[in-house]
């Protein structure tokens, strides 16, 4: 509603055309009262406006000097002046002075709020007295005028409202078309129907079509057969329902669209809503597809993240873990009961020897100095086994382009690392052999060749020279050269055997302490290995040998025992040594492991890359090196084993008693 109008404004009557209804009242009053003029007037600011008038032609007069103003101002129930000329007040008024009016009777027009809007008057040019009946009649006329006024006001408001409703209808219909909505209303008891024009758009009907109640009642629709199917179903629903309130929904497919139909029966009224859900359906399908894809992708990533091959974890720039995958938690994590997550950092599993290195590299990435780094770390896993892991640290930046987290990707390279160490040993050994071979080559090419060259030269000279004495001299020299050649070849054999090479590096070694050191080293490097050792070597026994090689020999022999631990008993390694001759020291190493099937493996034991037992025991290079190293030290090795009952290894070294 707009601004609330008060007084005459609220009636919207000023300056409207003359009305027959009002004129009927004034004409009747003129006759009944035998007056010269009658009128209905309203006060509007400074004018008096006539809605109806009989006996004069003015449409309005100034309000200030009118008798009506007096009537209104004084709030009189009515004003009856039989002769203006005899009245001291009114004989001055323009009505009398200007227009010659002698007689005036007026009744106020009183609004429901008791304000006075104007008046209903009769006037005459001769003095006149009205009787009681005439006055009562005029009062009735004034009341009747007000009824007409109210009616006029209501008419006006209704027309405004109708206009608004029409606008709203247009908006609603348009909105329904745009929003692909339709509607149908049926008052089953009153045989009334309301058809929303937008239905015609939804069902591809003639745009002027509007369903009648008869069509619905009889089921004979004046529309396309396929479209009428939907109304048949609605009819069936409305006919079948006995309950007072019920709902029914179904989907209706036309050639090019999908329409959802919702029916609701309330008492005897049926409300039907149509909604075109073609686009929504398509979108929903697309959404479902996307959702499925998203779920699949998420599953793929999840399986990637929780694979059993890679460690994936994230740490803050302080090193504290913020995320880890299942594999990490299972292999390197700790029990959540023991340690709360917020206290766990990336370095918890790193072995002490690698800790500083790990931190240095990690913080290089965390500080942004390096975008990413790769690092090999030794770590202790949950089973307290030392493993080698290759890690990639990658800095993750936040929206301010600062490194806020470090992504750590790692995988276990223990096996590779073990192999690498063994391959390195073999490579060292091969390089050593290769060096010997080069020396051999140099000796062959120089020493032997120079003797042979001399021999060939001497023989040529013997052909050239005829002097017998000289020839004999050459022959003598020739024999010498051949003997020298022979000696060179013998020397070569010595050179190629490793033994001679090590004479320089030999030193007196206390075997007892050496073995103790090796056991200690073994316990340090393989902290998970459980074994006991018995060292029966005399404390004063000294072997003249190369310390490093001896250490290597025993490390390999003991490591071999550790690979063959019996599940039934803790491993025990017993070692004793005795000087069995003046020159030979025998060392006996016994273990109670599962032993080696000598029939099956005996011949293979000392060959390269012949894995003993299962592959988990490494590649078998250990014993190969033992044999080579012992032979290099001028000794020999012998293995006795009963499958399932331990292994005894006898080592014999050349060791001269003083």
């Amino acid at each position: 509603m707009s601004v609330q109008l008060s007084g005459i404004e609220a009636y919207h009557i000023l300056d409207t055309e003359p009305s027959e209804q009002f004129d009927n009242l004034t004409q009747l009053a003129l006759k009944i009262c035998k007056a010269d003029a009658a009128f209905v007037s309203f006060a509007d600011n400074d004018r008096q406006w006539f809605k109806s008038k009989v006996g004069f032609d003015y449409s309005e007069v100034p309000l200030a000097t009118s008798i009506c103003k007096y009537l209104i101002d004084e709030k009189l129930p009515f004003l009856n002046i039989p002769d203006l000329s005899l009245d001291n007040t009114f004989k001055e008024y323009l009505a009398f002075v200007e227009y010659g009016v002698r007689f005036y009777v007026g009744f106020p027009l009183i609004a429901p709020d008791n304000s006075i809007l104007g008046n209903f008057c009769v006037v005459g040019f001769e003095p006149q007295h009205l009787d009681e009946v005439q006055l009562e009649f005029l009062k009735t006329m004034a009341d009747q005028t007000m009824i007409l006024m109210e009616s006029h006001r209501l008419n006006y408001e209704l027309s405004i409202e109708a206009e608004r409703l029409e606008k709203r209808r247009i908006v609603t219909d348009t909105a329904a078309v745009i929003g692909k909505l339709g509607g149908l209303y049926l008052d089953l008891s009153g045989n009334d129907i309301f058809w929303t024009p937008s239905n015609n758009v939804l069902f591809n009907l003639n745009r002027d079509y509007s369903m009648t109640f008869e069509e619905f009642e009889t089921g004979v629709f004046g529309i396309d057969k396929s479209a009428s199917l939907v109304f048949h179903r609605i009819r069936e629903f409305s006919n079948s329902q006995t309950a007072s309130n019920s709902k029914f929904s179904f989907d209706f497919a036309t050639d090019d669209r999908m329409i959802e139909v919702h029916c609701e029966l309330i008492e005897k009224e049926l409300y039907v809503v149509f909604q075109d859900v073609t686009v929504e359906n398509e979108l929903r399908e697309q959404l479902q597809m996307r959702e499925m894809e998203a779920v699949q992708t998420a599953n793929t990533y999840k399986s990637l993240v929780n694979n059993s091959t890679f460690y994936i974890c994230k740490a803050g720039i302080d090193g504290r873990l913020t995320f880890c995958n299942d594999f990490y938690a299972a292999e390197l994590g700790v029990d959540s009961l023991e340690t709360s997550w917020d206290r766990l950092d990336f370095f918890h599993s790193v072995t002490p020897a690698y800790l500083d290195y790990a931190k240095e590299v990690f913080f290089k990435v965390a500080s942004g100095r390096e975008a990413k780094c790769r690092i090999l770390l030794k770590e202790t896993n949950r089973d307290q086994v030392e493993v080698s892991n290759l890690w990639d640290f990658i800095g993750l930046k936040n929206s301010q382009n600062e490194v806020s987290e470090v992504l750590c990707l790692g995988y276990d390279v223990s096996e590779l690392e073990d192999n690498r160490v063994q391959v390195q040993l073999l490579a060292d050994y091969t390089a050593f052999q290769n060096k010997k071979l080069l020396e051999y080559n140099s000796i062959v090419s120089h020493d032997i060749r120079s003797h042979v060259a001399n021999a060939v030269g001497l023989i040529s000279l013997m052909d050239l020279i005829s002097d017998e004495e000289e020839q004999q001299n050459y022959f003598r020299l020739l024999k010498k050269e051949i003997r020298k050649t022979d000696r060179t070849i013998i020397a070569l054999d010595k050179l190629t055997s490793l033994t001679s090479v090590f004479e320089n590096g030999k030193e007196p070694v206390s075997l007892y302490y050496l073995i103790e050191q090796v056991f200690e080293l073994l316990r340090k490097t393989k902290p998970h290995a459980r074994f006991s050792s018995v060292n029966n070597i005399p404390v004063d026994l000294i072997i003249f040998s190369i310390r490093e090689y001896l250490e290597n020999v025993f490390l390999n022999v003991f490591a071999n025992s550790l690979k063959l631990v019996s599940p039934d008993r803790e491993l025990q390694i017993e070692i004793e040594a005795s000087q069995i001759t003046n020159s030979i020291l025998q060392i006996k190493i016994e273990d109670n492991g599962i032993g080696i099937d000598m029939k099956q493996y005996g011949d293979e034991l000392f060959k390269i890359q012949r894995p003993l037992k299962d592959t988990q025991y490494g590649n078998g290079i250990g014993l190969y090196l033992v044999k080579k190293q012992i032979e290099a030290l001028g000794g020999r090795v012998d293995i006795q084993s009963e499958n399932g009952n331990g292994t005894t290894i006898n080592l014999e070294f050349l060791n001269y008693e003083d």
Binding site: S445, H446, R449, S450, A453, N454, V456, G457, L458, S460, L461, L464, I465, L477, K480, E481
Partner: protein, 138 residues
């Protein structure tokens, strides 16, 4: 100009064979004097001593590689490290059959040939030819 030939080898038999063959091949028609050295140091001494006399002569050296104390390479390095007044030219005479040694020898300015032991008549002629070609400026 007078040409002297120095044969340097630690192996006495090798020296004997070389001298005999060269003489039989008629080297004396080109070379006025043959000097035999069992120790490279003696040859070096002679070279540096010869710097002090004004005798105009050309020195050719048959040089072995594998020698104790001073190898053929050491010898060449010493000779090339100083600016000798005397014209010294070298032909390697060695039992080495290594390609590496041959290439290394070629890298020295003063080396004019590479002959592998033992010497025979053909190789003696080759040596004579190297000397003649060099003297004739070929």
């Amino acid at each position: 100009m007078k040409i002297k030939l120095l044969i340097i080898d630690d192996d006495k038999v090798s020296l004997l064979i070389a001298e005999k063959f060269l003489i039989v091949s008629g080297i004396k028609k080109i070379v006025q004097e043959i000097l035999i050295f069992n120790k490279p140091i003696d040859a070096l001494k002679l070279l540096f001593a010869a710097e002090d006399n004004d005798e105009m002569c050309q020195l050719w050296i048959l040089l072995d590689i594998n020698m104790p104390k001073i190898s053929g390479w050491d010898f060449l390095n010493r000779v090339e490290s100083v600016d000798l007044k005397k014209d010294v030219k070298v032909i390697m005479l060695t039992s080495s059959i290594s390609e590496e040694d041959k290439n290394r020898a070629a890298s020295y300015n003063s080396v004019y040939g590479y002959i592998s032991k033992p010497l025979d008549m053909d190789k003696c002629n080759e040596i004579k030819q190297i000397i003649l070609n060099s003297e004739n400026g070929i």
